[in-house]
Structures are given as structure tokens and as C-alpha cells.
């Protein structure tokens, strides 16, 4: 075969190969697959359930594959980077404090026009939760689950110390203080507290229901200014009451870490702390220790100041769709499915949060023989959205507000003065 013939033969072979390759790569319309990405911060307990829910969606939508990407730490950074680089996930979990920033910049799709299409009935959702994601009749995410803040207590320890457990309904600061003092014990007489009453609520998300339940606040109703609110008499009185648990009554230990005292939960499990501030996310682990007989867990509300109405907070997250998503219909359907009844039931088995659907939450409460779910549900009515879901610069407020009680506890500064200075500082930074 001459060189020219060889080339011709090769060319022919290539020409035959082309349709073969096209058959392999250019699939017909029916065999095409779409991959949708879901971004969340699911931890070990949740990630299996989230993938299970995503798989159910894939089964119901042939040709659609859903990948669940879980970013446990630095979630906000990853999400912002993806959106900024023009490669957003199809659906992402929107945390309540991120709502204002995302909505103001038009980064999340208004889901209200599609409610009928995806068969999503907002009336099924707790109104206290729904309103966090609603603004001017727009719905910015389908609520996933939520929690108010409560005080867990170890009933077994209360029995052991022969102290009556906290009430299931409302209680005042005085009643709380009396209980706290009763369970605070120096068992070996060395002058050091061996059994603490409670952990110190140093972080804003922990102490804000205390402030509200004292009739105070940290911002004006429009969320514009902190001066006159963060340093108002009711708010400062709350700071004084909470810090007195550390300084005067030695009922709460304090660690000045932003992530909170790393030992607080451990102390509660081993019976060295009688009560614990937390939300529903702690229930799975508490149930584990409860089942082992280490503790006998009960729930009490956040105490309120005499004369002020009790007021709790609702922390929540929801499934949002980026505005620049490429497959809007599928993304909205997926978001609705992730927040739907079936998904809420699957997720409910983890006990990490209260399902956003009332029917599902009530079902779980009926199944719960310990009464924890019911105790949580009683806290929901009338709860307020967190300030993070209302104002854009909330992270600044949260960061700077650490200093108020820290200055008193570490340097002995006057709380009124510290609160006023921090309020002015926050307003200055926000004005910038």
C-alpha cells in the first residue's frame, strides 16, 4: 500500500468512527441527564437523610440526578464564592441571618408565584416561621425546620439534689434564680462549685430571648439604630441579671470563646450542670444520653422578668433558589420537595429541628413519649423572628455585642456604660 492510500484508508476509518462516536456521546433526548446541586451544612446526623430525600426526588423525576454537597464549616464563604463566580448551586440552604443580604441584593428567587405549581401550601407552615422568609408578599425560601430557644434540665440531678424541677410553663427570674441557687453545689467543700446551675448565655443568639422577656431589645423597631435600645434599662438589667449568675451566685461558669464554652454540654451529660441553654438541635444527643440513663431530660422555657411578657425567638433556615439558576422550574420543584411533607417526615426522624409543617410537627409530638416535642411546640406561639433575619449588618452587631458582658466580667466595667459605648460603636460601624 502506498503512502497516499494509507492516508485515504485512515481518513475513511475516521469517517466511520465519527458516527460511532456521535452515537456514544450525543445521547437522544430521553437519555439525557440533568444534575442538580444542593448546598447545605448538614452534619453527620443529617447528611444521610438529606441524600435520601434527594434520591427520592430523583426517583420521581427520571433523568434528574441530585447531588447533595454538605459544607459544615465556612458555609457562607463557599456559597458567596459560588454565587459570585456565576456557578451557584441549584438549591441552597438559606440561614435566617443571611436573608436580608441575599434579598436586598436580589440573589434569591421569589418563590411565591410558583406555590401552586409545586403544590406547596404555605398555610401548612407555622406562621411564626413563614413570616421570616416572607417580605412584601414575596417568599424567599421554603422553610426547612426551626427551633425556639429553651432550657433543658436534668430531672435526675434535680431529684438527687432534692430540688423541684423547673416548671413546664412560664417562670420568672426570681423563680429561676431560686432554682439556680438551690442546685449550685460545692460538694467537697473546697470553695469551688462542683455542680453548676446553668451555662452562661454569652452569645447574642442565646441571650436575646432573655432580653425580650425582660421587655428590652437591641434595635429600634425598624432595625436602624442600637443606641437607646441596646443600652435601655430593661436590656441592661438583663445583662446585670445574667452576669450575676457568674459573679454573685457562682451558678454559671464562663468561658470567653466565641464558640461558647466547649465543656458546657459535657458538664450537663455527666451531671455537673443542672440546666442548659440550647435549641432543638441538641435533642438527638440528649435522647441518646437519656436512653442510657445518664440523664432524665426535661424542658423549661426561658424565664421572664416580673411584669414583662415572655418572648421567645425562632431560628430557622429554608431552601432557596438563586436568581441566576439555569433550570428554574426543576430547581423550584426540588426546593419545594426538600421542604415538602415527605422530606419533613424523613428529616423529623433525626430530631434535629422542629419540622416547619405543623401537621408533621404535631405527629412527631404525639409519637414522642418524653414530651420534649410538645414542650418545644408550646414555645412557638408568638415567637419573634431573630434580628439577623431583619437587618443586613447583623454579623457586626453580633460580633461587637460580645464585649458588653465581657467587659463587665473581665474588667469590672459598668454594664450601662459598656452597653452605651458598644451601641454607639455598632451604630458608627453600620453607618459606615
Amino acid at each position: 500500500m502506498c503512502r497516499r492510500d494509507l492516508f485515504k484508508t485512515r481518513r475513511l476509518a475516521l469517517l466511520h468512527l465519527v458516527p460511532l462516536l456521535l452515537n456514544c456521546t450525543a445521547d437522544g433526548p430521553d437519555s439525557r441527564r440533568i444534575t442538580l446541586r444542593v448546598l447545605n451544612w448538614a452534619t453527620d446526623l443529617e447528611v444521610m437523610a438529606e441524600q435520601q430525600i434527594a434520591d427520592r426526588f430523583s426517583q420521581q423525576n427520571p433523568g434528574v440526578e441530585v447531588t447533595v454537597e454538605s459544607i459544615v464549616t465556612n458555609y457562607g464563604e463557599k456559597l458567596a464564592t459560588e454565587i459570585a463566580s456565576g456557578t451557584p448551586p441549584d438549591v441552597f440552604l438559606l440561614d435566617a441571618p443571611d436573608i436580608p443580604a441575599f434579598v436586598e441584593r436580589g440573589l434569591v428567587l421569589d418563590l411565591a408565584p410558583y406555590l401552586d405549581r409545586v403544590d406547596y401550601d404555605p398555610a401548612m407552615v407555622f406562621p411564626e416561621v413563614l413570616r421570616i422568609f416572607t417580605k412584601s408578599q414575596q417568599l424567599h425560601a421554603f422553610p426547612k425546620g426551626f427551633t425556639p430557644m429553651v432550657i433543658f434540665y436534668n430531672g435526675a440531678l434535680f431529684d438527687e439534689l432534692d430540688v423541684p424541677p423547673p416548671p413546664a410553663d412560664q417562670w420568672t427570674w426570681d423563680q429561676f434564680l431560686e432554682t439556680a441557687r438551690s442546685v449550685t453545689r460545692d460538694l467537697d467543700g473546697d470553695g469551688e462549685t462542683d455542680t453548676y446551675a446553668i451555662d452562661f448565655p454569652r452569645r447574642l443568639f442565646e441571650w436575646i430571648p432573655w432580653v425580650w422577656s425582660a421587655g428590652g431589645d437591641i434595635l429600634d423597631p425598624q432595625g436602624n439604630t442600637t443606641a437607646g435600645y441596646l443600652d435601655s434599662p430593661a436590656t441592661v438589667e438583663t445583662f446585670e441579671f445574667l452576669t450575676s449568675l457568674v459573679t454573685e451566685w457562682k451558678a454559671a461558669p464562663v468561658q470567653f470563646l466565641r464558640g461558647g464554652d466547649p465543656m458546657r454540654v459535657g458538664r450537663f451529660y455527666v451531671g455537673a450542670q443542672a440546666m442548659l441553654h440550647s435549641g432543638h438541635w441538641l435533642v438527638p444527643r440528649l435522647l441518646h444520653y437519656n436512653a442510657r440513663g445518664d440523664i432524665r431530660v426535661g424542658i423549661a422555657p426561658i424565664p421572664h422578668r416580673q411584669g414583662a411578657a415572655p418572648q421567645n425567638v425562632v431560628y430557622t433556615s429554608g431552601w432557596a433558589v438563586p436568581t441566576n439558576v439555569s433550570r428554574k422550574r426543576l430547581a423550584v420543584e426540588l426546593a419545594a420537595f426538600l421542604a415538602g411533607e415527605e422530606a419533613q417526615r424523613i428529616r423529623g426522624e433525626n430530631h434535629l429541628e422542629i419540622p416547619a409543617f405543623r401537621t408533621v410537627a404535631l405527629e412527631l409530638a404525639q409519637q414522642d413519649t418524653l414530651g420534649l416535642e410538645q414542650a418545644f411546640l408550646t414555645q412557638v406561639a408568638g415567637s419573634r423572628p431573630p434580628w439577623g433575619a431583619v437587618v443586613v449588618d447583623f454579623y457586626e452587631i453580633e460580633e461587637l455585642s460580645f464585649d458588653i458582658m465581657d467587659r463587665h466580667l473581665l474588667r469590672g466595667d459598668d454594664l450601662q456604660q459598656a452597653a452605651s459605648e458598644i451601641a454607639r460603636q455598632i451604630d458608627r460601624v453600620r453607618a459606615r
Binding site: I83, E104, F256, L257, V392, D393, D406
Partner: protein, 605 residues
Amino acid sequence: MTPVAQKRRLFLGGAAFALLAIACAAALYTALSAVTAAERDLLAAEARIAVGTLRETQQPALLDGVFPDRWRLSDEVDPWLDESVVYQAGDGLAARAALYDADSWYQVGTLLLSARRGSEARIPVANSAALFTLLGSLLLGLLLWVKLPVIRERRAAAVIGFLVATTVIVSLTSSLWLARNWATARLQEATDHRVAVAAHALRLVPDLGDLTGRPGGVAQLTGLAFVLRGSAGDVESPLLSAPVARALAMTDRPSDGRITVDGVGYAVADVGAVRLVGLPYEHAGGPTTTMVAVALIGLSLAAPLLSLAGLAERPRAFRSNLVAWSFLAPSLVHLLIFTIGPLAFAAWLSLHRWSLIDAARPFIGLANYVSLLGDGMFWNAIRNTAVFTFHVPASMALALGIALVVRRKVAGVVFLRAMLFLPTITSLVAIAMVWQWMLHDDYGLINWLLSVLGLPAVGWLSSPNTALLSIMIMAVWMVVGYQMILFQAGLATIPTELYDAARIDGAGPLQRFFHVTIPGLRHTLFFVLITSVIGSFQVFGAVYVMTEGGPLHATDVAVFHIYQEAWEFFRFGNAAAMSWVLFAIIFVVTWLQFRTLEQRLKVSR
């Protein structure tokens, strides 16, 4: 000039010419890309407006008024079609958009839209080519200019180098200027067209009241943010922040249709009570940054050529330099892309109000730097960083002491060395978490040991007085093994004869240490000090894991503060300015160390 030298100079001229060509082409390409991206975005937006208009009016004929001779409908229903897809059709762009029912859910057809005539992005090639040819020829001529008999060779090289550099700078700047002006004009044109189309589409809606009564309805039709201006001056804005909306709604519209609020320009169009608001393309996707980066890279690549130009008539030096530059090239390119590039970008960021998720990134000059002057928190972080640096002499003294001990050949020394070096190769996060537990007030190992000794507990990480000190102690523990290894290497280079001679002269251990060991280790000490100080200015991981800057900002160090500013508060411009200030501080400190210590090293030689 010999023929060989002439060939070399020709080669260099060609290389310079190619370099200039690449840099100019890259600059032009950047501008072209920005315009092309804007054109694609514009067409996609037009397609969305077209299907939105159809959905709202149900009258296809109305599209002729907005997109004359550019659209057609198809019954094709493709469930895999995105909302709108822009693609290359023949010699122009075209878009396909899914046509949905009135509820914007089920696809009922497909709309095909071609790009408007004359909108294809064409770079002013003729002008650029003419400019490039002119300047390139000048450059080539300079390099081939051999008749410099009266000037000595070195001076000739300097003159030629200067002329080459000037020509490269002028060429690049001209290209950038030309391309940028062209791109800006095209982007402005695209913006104006975008807003005009949106306004036109809105005018076609039969009952605008229905649309404005539905929050987001206008935005869904036009794809632009909007404000509704009430008669009483009240403003409703679902998609703009309240202050910006008020400013936009109340400001009179200037002749160019642009309104600037807080340094950000907005293109606006009025349709009755609706004011449509769009961010100009040149603001969101202008090519300036990339073009400046290209120019910087282009200019810095001139260094090898300038180096070689001076050696054209020295064959051996020329060859060795050429080989050296070819070996350096990969790391040089790496350095340019991953070090110089980010540095330049950070400098650019520091002059802008820049947030990761905001499309508007206005130029604000030195405002970020000025605001730093009054930012007490930042200077507190700098002060903490400076205090943290004091762990360096402590760790060096300890490392040197250990190095002197473990160089003796006694049992267990190898094991001890290995143990001391382990922290260097262990994950910082793991170390920090273990130390966090060890330093815990109530359950920490260290306080337990103190209690065994009958001493009071210390609030290691809980007190602002001790938190930074605790991290410094941990830092010493972490680096002492690494420094010890360096000192051991340094000690091995000191001749034993010097010690023997000192001994014979009657020197004791201390005298031998100060007069033999220390002078012998001066270069190692210098290296360890410089690198450790620079490293300590960049401390981040330990603070991030252990204290997150607390308590009361006692451990808020510079890099952690910058991280918070950028990633928690999304003020990247401010963070970039802080980074440059930190860079300047490190630079000055290192320079001072070099100045003072190098003098001493010279004296002690």
C-alpha cells in the same frame, strides 16, 4: 558588531516584538471578552424580556416594535432548555428562550431571537494593528540599532534598555487606552439599549397597574430592579435597599440617563410611576482590571529581555543568561500569576468598595486607607501582632539551648530530637485544639498541674491579660523543633578547631559560647530571626481555632482581623487595604532588620 551578535540582537528584537504582540493582543482580547460577555448577557436579557412580553400581553405582533425582524416563534418544546440560551449562529449571536404559559411554569414553545445588527463585538483591529505595527517597528529598530561606536558597550546597553522599556510601556498603555475606550463605549451602548428595551416592553403591557401591584412583577418582565414613585413621594422597592431606592426615585434624571448614588452609577428609565434601574455593564464587567494585570505581567516579562539585551555581544554571558532565564521561566510565570497577580488585584481591591456578592464595585480612591487611620480595632490588631512577635526571641533562645544539648551523642538524643520536631509536621488545627483543652480554666491539664502544686488556677484563654501570652507559649512550642534543626545545621558548620584553640587559650564554656558559637551561627541566627518575624506577623491558624480574637479582642491579630473583615463582613476593599498596610509594616520591619543586622554581620566578619 559581529554577525553573531547581530543575530542575537535580531533574536532579542523578535522576542521583544512577540512579547509586545502577546501583551497587546491579550489587552485587546480582554476588552473584546468584556464586550462579548455583555452582548451575550444583553441578548439573553432581550430573550427573557421578549418571552415576558408575550406572556403578559399574549400578542406576538407587539414584539415587532421591540425587536424588529429579529424574532420568530417555534412550537418546539424542549424540557431541557434553560430559560434562555445564547449561542453562536453563523457569524452572529442568537438566543433561544423557553416560552412559558401565563403562570410562567409550563413551556408552550420556543422563541428564537437573533442579535441586533451591528451588535457583534468587533475590536477596532485596524487602529490597533496600525498602532502596534508602528510601535513594534520602533522597538525592533531600536534593538537592531548597532551604530553606537562612540558610546561604550555598557552604556549602550543601558540606553537601549531604557528605550526598549519606554517603548514597551508606551505601546502597552496605548493599546490599553484604545481598547478600554472602545470597550467602555460599547458597554455603554449595550446598557442604554438594555434599559431602552426593558422600558419599551413595559410600555406594551396593557394594564401596568396589574403589574406594579404585584411585587416583583415588573422585575420579572424587564429583568431590572425598579422603584415605584408615589405622588406623595413615597417609594416602594422590592429589589433595592431603601436608601438607594429613595435616592434613585427622588433624583432628577440627567441627560445621559445615569444617576450616581453613593459612588455607584445606575442607568435609569422612567415609565409612568415606574423607574427602572440597571447597573451599567461597564460598571459590573469592565475590562480595566484584567487589562492592567496583563500590562503589569507584560512589563515584568521585559526584565529578561533587558537583561539579555546588554549581553548581546558577549557570547558566553549571553548563553548562560539565556539558560538561566529559561530555567527561571516556569517559577517566574508561577510567581507572576499566583503572587504578583493577587498582589496587584489586592491593590486594585483596596481602591474600591468591593463585596463578593455586590455587582456594584465603585472606585473610591484612598477612602479605605483613610478609614483605616481611625479604625481603632485594626490598630489594636496590629499592636497584638507586634506583641505576638516577641515570642520569636524566646523560641530562638530555647531552640539554640536545646540544639546545644541534643548535639551531644548521648542515649535518647535522637528520640528527643524527633519528639521536639513533631509539632512542626503536625496539623496546626489538631495542635490548637489540644492546647485549647490543656489551657481550659476548669478542666485543663495545665491548671490541674498548678493545683497539684498548690498554685491558683490561671484563666489562660479566658483572661485578656493572658490569652495572647498563652498563644505565644503554644507558638514557641510549635516552632522550637524547627529552629532547633536549623541551629544544629549551623552548629555543624563551626570548625571544631576553633573550640580547641579557644580551650587552649583558656576560654571557659561561656566565653566559647559568646566568642565562637554565636559568631559562627550569625548567618543562621539572621535567617531564623527574619523568617520567624515575618511568619509571626502572619499568625492566623492558632487564633482562628483557639480564641477567634477574644476575649475582648486581646488576641485579635492582623491576619485574623483581615479575614473577618473580608469573609464575615464582606468588606473586601477594606480588607485589601489592611493587607497592604500589613505588607508595608512587614516590609519596613524586615528592611530594618536587614539594615541593622547585616551591618553587624559585616563588622563581625
